[in-house]
Symmetry: C2
Subunit: 128 residues, 2 copies
DNA sequence: TGACAAATGCAACTAAGTTGCATATAATTC
DNA sequence: GAATTATATGCAACTTAGTTGCATTTGTCA
């Protein structure tokens, strides 16, 4: 027997699908509450952990001292606006060359990487 | 009156100088204890926070659910071995082009980025 | 419909980091 | 070298993020 379909798990996946930027556990709980699913935080932690380990969601850090999650999809990076906190996505992988060189020069075999950009979105540039 | 030179702060800086990879608060406290500086964790948190805000140290995350710190120096990235946990440094900034393109195509002005590589160091590749 | 693994809820816990407040200590000035 | 004062420290208590143990419930499958 494998992954079961339960109201909590379904709702979490549904929320992740509808979210435009990575969400934290608190946001998931809020979503469940607002949909009248009285869920315990432990359930959320266990579900998200399971989804993460099964490779269905991505676990991210943005210097907040907590994790954020998003559905796994095409490889991409994030643009985090330090003005308004908005998180956008950017595609593109410029790092193949760099990873090849790392292997060539030092023998370290890169399996994956974390690359996030911090700066100001267009709106926040205008504000200042 | 600005930053004071105190035994705790001096020792923390000394430890950071001698560390070859980013350290966490626990390691700093251990270091202080082993040097007979009976220090409170609050002191360590406040000192490291101050050093971080003053731009003297870098605050890093490696998916551990806590922060690590290192003295600020030349811009570089890290190679984190998921086998043994060893953290090496790599220099080089391949991202200028990418950041220019991000600005050109979407107007997002990148101020800084986080780029870390996860994989296997030479030794751990052999082990498996 | 019974069986059983998987999921949940609760309470209690850990780990990382923070806050308030009283005390101590560098550094500056006289 | 003592007085001053901003800065730093220590303690206790707290918060926030995440975990664990255990008893109960719920999907799923045969």
């Amino acid at each position: 027997m494998d992954l079961k379909s339960t109201p909590a798990r379904d709702a979490i996946l549904c929320f992740l699908k509808s979210s435009k930027s990575p969400v934290d556990v608190e946001q998931i709980i809020e979503y469940l509450r607002s949909n009248n699913l009285n869920t315990n935080k432990v359930t959320v932690y266990r579900n998200i952990e399971r989804l993460y380990k099964d490779g269905e969601v991505e676990r991210l850090e943005f210097g907040e001292g907590k994790f954020r999650y998003e559905l796994k999809k095409n490889h991409h990076h994030h643009l985090i606006c330090t003005g308004c906190g908005k998180i956008e996505e950017v595609e593109g992988d410029f790092l193949n060359k760099m990873e090849e060189e790392i292997y060539r020069t030092g023998g370290f075999k890169v399996k994956n990487h974390v690359l996030e950009f911090y700066g100001l979105c267009r709106k926040c540039q205008i504000k200042n």
